[in-house]
């Protein structure tokens, strides 16, 4: 058996690819991970590392998130502390009473799915976040929300998987046999053979699907993050405004911004979140900066004097119905998809990896994967 042969080739060394490699290896498969860039070089490296249940309405994505939350908690015990896993909880704040009423309704619905949410009256908000602006309407605390440092999490997952990692190597073709079944990939360095190929190429997953003769309409949805100078813990939770939930669920191409503010163990405060569909354009936008800064300082006036050191853009892999594609390609036997997680890929990675590993080994799926079936986008022909 040559060293270019394995049981599964994962295309993509981001957090989803790393999770697929990890669970596949744990199931006993020999795994090769290949990426045209470095580890965590795409959307993973541009993310904030949110592991959220709070921003999801009841439904299949919330089920996936709840499973992932449990898996992340286990992973945090197995991986080094340097992945900066923090079960710090989320705090969603409403600007007024009617906003709070809407949050209350959402929390009640989420409770049925197993989400814990505690109402925080307006006069108690500052017990949780002393620097919050006065005059807010109240909020909800979500203790299950957590955070990791996404690049470190991906790199350590990958290392723990023991997979053979080939970075800087672009996949130029997906090889299929006479029966149409996948038999490997071709890269600039040669052919890699495996009976399974997992498409974990994130925002670029549509291209990988196309190489294999499949179809997956993944589009980029740009987001900017502002990074401040290092600070002591001025923001304790992940704090966001109630309209974030609506923005996440929206499919609009136009610019949307809603404040998401969180501290990090290393000191800088991260400020998101903007959403717009503008292709792969990284150009800085003055309007996005202004809106993110204005919304963040409205929540935390103390931040007005704090300096932004840098900003970066990332491209969320967006599918038309906002659900990821997880599972076998309907046309190409041996090809599995694990992409299109939009802004939730860090959080949803472990459950995705576990589900894909089970599918390759014929195991019991950890949850109903029907809603994530890549076949839902198959052109009617």
């Amino acid at each position: 058996m040559s060293n270019s042969s394995s049981d599964v080739i994962v295309v993509g060394a981001g957090v989803v690819g790393a999770a697929c490699a990890y669970y596949a290896a744990r199931a006993g498969l020999a795994v090769t991970v290949v990426d045209r860039g470095p580890v965590a070089g795409g959307t993973t490296g541009a993310g904030e590392g949110n592991l959220l249940v709070s921003d999801k309405e009841p439904g299949p994505e919330l089920e996936l998130a709840l499973l992932s939350t449990r898996l992340w908690s286990d992973l945090a015990d197995e991986l080094p502390a340097r992945i900066e896993y923090e079960a710090k909880g989320g705090l969603v704040v409403a600007s007024d009473a009617s906003g709070l009423a809407a949050l209350r309704k959402l929390a009640a619905a989420q409770a049925g799915a197993g989400v814990t949410a505690e109402e925080v009256p307006a006069d108690r908000l500052r017990d949780l976040e002393p620097h919050l602006a006065p005059g807010l309407g109240g909020g909800f605390r979500y203790p299950q929300d957590a955070q990791v440092q996404p690049a470190l999490a991906a790199a350590h997952l990958l290392r723990a998987s023991g997979a053979r990692v080939r970075t800087g190597e672009e996949v130029t073709a997906v090889l299929t046999g006479a029966n149409g079944r996948v038999r490997g990939v071709r890269t600039a360095a040669g052919e890699l053979r495996a009976p399974f190929v997992v498409n974990a190429a994130g925002t670029w997953g549509g291209e990988v699907a196309r190489l294999a003769g499949g179809h997956l309409p993944v589009l980029p949805r740009r987001g900017f993050v502002l990074v401040t100078e290092p600070l002591p813990r001025v923001v304790r939770h992940k704090v966001y405004a109630a309209d974030y939930v609506a923005d996440v669920a929206s499919g609009s191409a136009a610019l949307q911004t809603s404040a998401v503010v969180e501290g990090t163990p290393a000191g800088p405060v991260l400020i998101g979140a903007s959403r717009e569909r503008v292709g792969f354009d990284r150009a800085l936008s003055a309007e996005v900066l202004r809106r993110l800064a204005a919304q963040a300082t409205a929540l935390f006036p103390v931040l007005a004097g704090v300096r932004v050191l840098r900003t970066y853009a990332g491209f969320r892999p967006y599918l038309p119905d906002h659900l990821p594609a997880i599972g076998p390609d309907p046309r190409v036997p041996g090809l599995l998809h694990a992409c299109g997680h939009e802004g939730a890929g860090i959080g949803l990675a472990p459950a995705t990896g576990l589900a894909v590993a089970r599918q390759m080994t014929g195991g019991q799926p950890p949850l109903d994967l029907g809603p994530f079936s890549p076949g839902r986008f198959a052109p009617a022909d």
Partner: protein, 573 residues
């Protein structure tokens, strides 16, 4: 109003060093409306940095043997009608429309103040290794986006409120360790801001002006390679030491070892010695034989020979010993540098065992040449090229235009080459911009342009020969032990960087940053970028890789409050 979207400037020049002044004066004389934005209070850039009038220095020319040429350039600029927007820290340039750019700058008390002499004094009091571009490392080039304030922060030693400019001393390399970085001290700094005294952001605002073309004359910042002890107080940048002297008329010590690599070292040693310091040694890591390998370029650049001769005689007069193929491989001291170890290097810059010699000193001025400041341009997608010394400069065509039409560059941003080259390129760019905007292509076909282009090509060839000579040998990383901090801001050691490369598969500076935080701190990798890139490249056979286009630090840190207020446009009340 000039600069508004409906009435843009023809040309915005970023940086008021020799390249920017020459470009602006030329374009304005050819009929363009021009604005020059610069962080400093006075024109001149790094090379022609001079004391603020308030310091009462009688003879700034004493530190500049090209002073007459500079005053002539400044006179032409002042007579040209170009607007000089001093105290403007440009933090981003964005594309507004086809053929229209918006330039965003931070202005305010902090900005203007810091830019003048703040760099020098802050540096001096803090005693830190200044980040060249921002703190004001000397050497040729424009100061452009450099914020004034000073010394290098270390491990968050910069209190959240002690921003660069206000009180530069706070930003110096103090004895602040990671422990000192605890929440206590910084929490105070932050909560202090909540009150009315927090004015930090209140005094600063961001302004935006528009232009049909942009000329990046952003200069260069000093390149540093770490070694054990480099974070000790008293270790300063070589260019920074010169800048201190030029702007604040202070010496970093009395007995100063000068080390590193590059033609700047001799100039720095001469300047320090002439100002009264004792210089017990100059350690140059390269040999100078490389110069001899390109006698044609040397012969074609008599001014360079003259310059070297001037510095050479000055060194002789002050009895400064020059050690080539030698480097400071360790700085010793507890509260401050007390001595350094100078070792012989082999061809690859690996220290030769047993050659270390201890030299007592109270300051060390160290630098490894200059790295072009390109981040404003690369943020807009301008392509870069690898210079023989391992730095990355903007790719420019024969008329100084970058790979993005409408954006030009001159001077060090296109590769370091000295102030005269910067002036030549500035003039070329000024003509080229005028030719484009006024639709007069004939302007670029005259004898003057041919003459300027020839001078540029000749000097560039010499600069490339020097860059090859002073390119760090890959053995320099042998200076580092695993405990040496490579990234001072985040206190990331060489050991952690090596582990990210060997254990986690990082192959480039960006991935090292993501996995170790090296370069994520206050200086955004301006200080450690070169070293991290070298360490990351040791994992591959390909050498260093260009900075990622995704790297998007704001060229100057901007307060959230100023961003939130939105930019003021020309014509706003």
């Amino acid at each position: 109003m000039p600069g508004s979207p409906s009435e843009p400037y023809d040309l915005a020049v970023i940086g008021a060093g020799p390249a920017g002044l020459a470009g602006a004066a030329t374009a304005a004389r050819l009929g363009l409306s021009v604005a020059v934005l610069d962080a400093a209070a006075q024109a001149g850039g790094q090379y022609f940095r001079h004391p603020a009038p308030g310091l009462g220095a009688a003879r700034p020319e004493a530190l500049h043997h090209d002073w007459a040429a500079f005053t002539e350039l400044r006179r032409r600029f002042e007579a040209s009608g170009a607007a000089h927007l001093a105290g403007h820290h440009v933090w981003a340039v964005m594309r507004r429309d086809e053929g229209l750019w918006s330039v965003h700058a931070l202005v305010g008390e902090d900005g203007g103040e810091g830019a003048g002499h703040g760099g020098g004094t802050a540096f001096g009091r803090g005693g830190g290794l200044a980040d060249g571009g921002r703190g004001g490392a000397g050497a040729d080039g424009a100061t452009a986006p450099g914020a004034g304030g000073g010394g290098m922060p270390r491990g968050g030693g910069r209190g959240a409120g002690g921003a660069r400019g206000h009180d530069g001393a706070g930003a110096g390399v103090g004895p602040v360790t990671r422990d000192g970085r605890g929440a206590g001290a910084r929490a105070d700094a932050v909560s202090g801001r909540e009150g009315p005294a927090s004015a930090g952001a209140g005094d600063e605002r961001t302004v935006r002006l528009h232009a049909r073309a942009v000329l990046f004359a952003t200069g260069a910042s000093e390149r540093h390679l770490p070694f054990p002890g480099w974070t000790l107080p008293g270790v300063v940048g070589a260019g920074g030491a010169q800048a201190m002297l030029k702007s604040g008329l202070v010496l970093p010590g009395r007995r100063i070892v000068v080390a590193g690599s590059g033609p700047l070292l001799l100039a720095v040693a001469s300047t320090l010695a002439a100002a009264g310091a004792r210089v017990p040694a100059v350690a140059e890591a390269a040999g100078y034989v490389g110069y001899a390998r390109s006698p044609r370029t040397l012969a074609a650049n008599p001014h360079k020979l003259l310059e070297a001769a001037v510095h050479g005689t000055a060194l002789l007069r002050h009895r400064v010993p020059l050690h080539t193929r030698s480097a400071v491989t360790e700085a010793h001291g507890t509260d401050r540098v007390e001595a350094v170890t100078v070792s012989r290097l082999d061809r690859d810059w690996r220290p030769v065992p047993g050659t270390g010699r201890r030299i007592a000193c109270d300051a060390l001025a160290v630098g490894h040449g200059l790295a072009p400041q390109t981040e404003l341009a690369t943020g807009l997608g301008c392509a870069t090229r690898r210079v023989p010394d391992g730095t990355h400069a903007l790719v420019l065509d024969g008329l100084q235009e970058t790979s993005v039409p409408g954006l030009w560059a001159a001077g060090e941003a296109g590769g370091t080459g000295g102030w005269e080259l910067a002036r030549v390129e500035g003039e070329l760019a000024g003509i080229a911009v005028a030719a484009r905007l006024r639709a007069l292509p004939a302007l670029t076909r005259g004898r003057r342009v041919r003459d300027l282009a020839r001078r540029r090509d000749r000097t560039r060839a010499f600069a490339d020969a020097m860059a090859t000579t002073h390119a760090p040998g890959h053995g320099w990383t042998a200076w580092l032990d695993d405990d040496t901090d490579v990234c001072r801001c985040e206190e990331v050691t060489a050991g952690s960087v090596r582990e990210a490369v060997t254990g986690l598969g990082a192959r480039d500076a960006r991935t090292v940053k993501l996995l170790t935080r090296a370069g994520m701190g206050w200086c955004q990798g301006r200080m450690c970028g070169a070293a991290v890139a070298c360490l990351a490249a040791s994992g591959t056979a390909r050498g260093t890789v260009p900075p990622s286009a995704e790297r998007r630090p704001l060229a100057v840190p901007v307060p959230l409050g100023s961003l939130a207020a939105g930019p003021e446009e020309p014509g706003d009340a």
